[in-house]
């Protein structure tokens, strides 16, 4: 199996697990309570509000062949490309449309910043930035892979079952379009990264295993307890 296929299979399985989860299906079927939907929106905002910073980190460790694509991705997130759509602003507009007041939106930004803080302060398990960079790159590109396939479905669910306007859901519809390209470019970036830093298939497999030990989408979007219930680590009603 070539490396590209190895990564795509990993991503596809991870996304499939998310799409097949009872939480995701409840979201699509309109079976989540309003409070749970709002929690989902809050979690999603916290997960992505600081994406430009994460991409900036990836840009700083990117091999020459991948630097341009990652730089473009970062500028696009910031709204500094030709389209001029700042993605964090789209998330805050989504939160406002869902009824989050200014203080709640500020709390979302603080929560997102806390995630960046954790990334910087958690004891490092990897021995070098090379491995950490690969793990972050895999996570980011797996998110792009997922969004290219599920973002419009999530947007439609929130439109139909939470009554949000298509304008307020621009983040999802925009991602469903641009991330098809990003998803392809992302895997190319990973392949370039592996080649540049001379990471072999065995080490890649281990870092994939470490990075995706938990379903990152379920944990980030629905929370640790929901993930534990989906994976039977906890009973549904402890």
């Amino acid at each position: 199996m070539d490396i590209r296929t190895q990564i795509e299979r990993y991503y596809a399985a991870h996304v499939q697990d998310f799409a097949n989860s009872s939480r995701f299906q409840a979201l699509e079927a309109g079976q989540l309570s309003r409070a749970d939907m709002d929690q989902f929106i809050a979690n999603l905002c916290r997960a992505h509000l600081k994406s430009p910073q994460i991409l900036a980190f990836l840009y700083s460790v990117a091999p020459p062949a991948a630097a341009s694509a990652i730089q473009h991705n970062m500028l696009e997130e910031l709204g500094l490309d030709d389209e001029g759509i700042c993605h964090p602003d789209l998330l805050l507009e989504l939160a406002a449309a869902a009824g989050f007041d200014e203080a709640q939106r500020e709390a979302l930004v603080e929560g997102a910043q806390e995630n960046v803080r954790s990334l910087c302060t958690d004891p490092l398990m990897f021995g070098t930035i090379k491995e950490l960079g690969l793990s972050v790159l895999l996570e980011v590109t797996c998110f792009e892979w997922m969004l290219s396939r599920l973002a419009s479905r999530i947007g439609r669910a929130l439109e139909q079952h939470r009554g949000l306007s298509p304008e307020s859901l621009e983040w999802f519809y925009h991602h469903s379009e641009v991330d098809i390209r990003h998803a392809e470019e992302g895997i190319t970036s990973v392949v370039d990264y592996l080649r540049y830093y001379e990471i072999d298939a065995d080490e890649l497999e281990t870092i994939l295993d470490i990075t995706f030990r938990e379903n990152i989408f379920l944990k980030r979007y629905f929370g640790a307890i929901a993930l534990a219930q989906e994976t039977h680590m906890l009973e549904a009603t402890p």
Partner: protein
């Protein structure tokens, strides 16, 4: 100056694991720690943690909670606790004095057989120590002065199929963890250990842990079969029982034996030493009844030439991890387990992550008390039972 405890809350937690953890006795998918949060009259708050294991001390979560609220709380609220001494040379006496205030016997008529109420006592001892040290702004390192600049932890490979075990071994290799412990069950041990050794190479040390899954003949045969993989020690191959049985294994097996479930009290330590039953003790704070009792057993081991490992209970949170860090830095232990934090728990309960880093290394803790900032919100999120105690 003395301090009075005015209230306490017991949180019975269920914190999910990232992945299931199994050994020969059972498989776990969540931490079932009990956190003791107590408040002194001056408002200082301290945290302790108990991990009840019926197959270790005989305590269950429910019986542990009952013992805490019916026996320990009665004693604690009637006691005036001294501030920690300014002179750290008096630290161990202070620690022993605190432990001495905690009852050891259950109320009359309590059903079930319990070897010792050590998990319950450890939870309260830690909470008291944490709070009392905080009143003076002192770290536990003042009472247990560190003898090393950092602590190096082992990785533990759960009882699982070969593929899963190799996957875990490769993770630990990626993290350059220098010592590994592998749970063995009596089924396919040789193939698993061979695959793990092949995956990690010759460099990391490997220990095995049977959790009492073998009889004398089986333990000897297994050790003979696995010796070629350079196994540093074999932990608790037999069930807790007559030390003479373990001595028979120690005499015949090519791998040094380590006592774990057989070592709960100081009397156990004396019996094991008298029988020449093993070369290693596995100390655990929750199993041995807290810091003071664990130090006492370690001192006895040292005097008898027994080597020590500081182990942990599966699913310990940041509180017991922090206590373990201090103790591991203070005692002459050769292997250390614990501080897995978010490597095992889906979320930990402290603001600052406690888990070790690359090469299993973790720094010493220097903040007041045990050195961790517990998030009450996390306790409330993961508590399925909360008991409030007021004097």
């Amino acid at each position: 100056m003395s301090h009075q405890v005015v209230s306490a809350t017991l949180f019975a937690l269920r914190i999910p694991f990232v992945e299931a953890f199994a050994h020969s006795v059972r498989s776990r998918t969540y931490s079932d720690s009990i956190v003791v949060r107590l408040e002194l009259a001056d408002g200082t708050v301290g945290y302790g943690e108990a991990v009840a294991r019926p197959y270790v001390t005989g305590e269950t979560v429910e019986s542990c909670l009952d013992f805490m609220k019916e026996r320990i709380w009665l004693a604690v609220q009637q006691t005036a606790y001294p501030s920690p001494p300014a002179d750290s040379a008096a630290g161990l006496d202070w620690l022993r004095a605190i432990a001495h205030t905690l009852p050891t016997d259950p109320a009359e008529g309590t059903p079930g057989h319990v070897v010792a109420w050590n998990a319950a006592r450890a939870g309260w001892e830690l909470a008291l120590v944490d709070a009392l040290l905080k009143t003076e702004g002192r770290s536990l390192a003042h009472i247990l002065p560190p003898q090393r600049p950092s602590v190096t932890y082992s990785g533990v490979i759960t009882a699982s199929g070969i593929e899963s075990a190799v996957k875990m071994a490769k993770r630990f290799k990626q993290f350059a963890i220098p010592h590994l412990k592998v749970k063995v069950t009596g089924e396919g041990d040789r193939d698993r250990i061979a695959a793990i050794r092949e995956a990690v190479g010759d460099k990391p040390s490997i220990r095995i842990d049977g959790n009492g899954a073998y009889d004398v003949e089986g333990a000897i045969a297994t050790c003979q079969e696995l010796a070629e993989f350079a196994i540093a020690s074999a932990e608790q191959m037999l069930p807790r029982g007559n030390p003479a049985d373990l001595a028979a294994v120690q005499a015949a097996a090519p791998i040094p034996q380590m006592a774990d479930e057989s070592l709960i009290t100081l009397a156990d330590a004396e019996a094991l030493i008298a029988a020449n039953a093993c070369q290693w003790f596995n100390l655990r704070i929750a199993k041995c009844g807290g810091l003071a009792n664990t130090v006492a057993i370690a001192q006895r081991a040292q005097a008898a030439g027994i080597r020590c490992q500081l182990g942990c209970q599966v699913g310990e949170t940041a509180i017991l991890s922090a206590a373990g860090r201090h103790l591991a830095a203070h005692l002459p232990v050769e292997f250390v387990e614990g501080s897995y934090g978010k490597l095992l728990l889906s979320q930990d309960i402290s603001r600052h992550p406690i888990h070790f880093a690359h090469q299993g290394r973790a720094p010493l803790l220097t903040r007041p008390g045990l050195g961790v900032e517990v998030l009450d919100g996390m306790l409330e999120t993961y508590a399925y039972q909360t008991i409030s105690l007021k004097s």
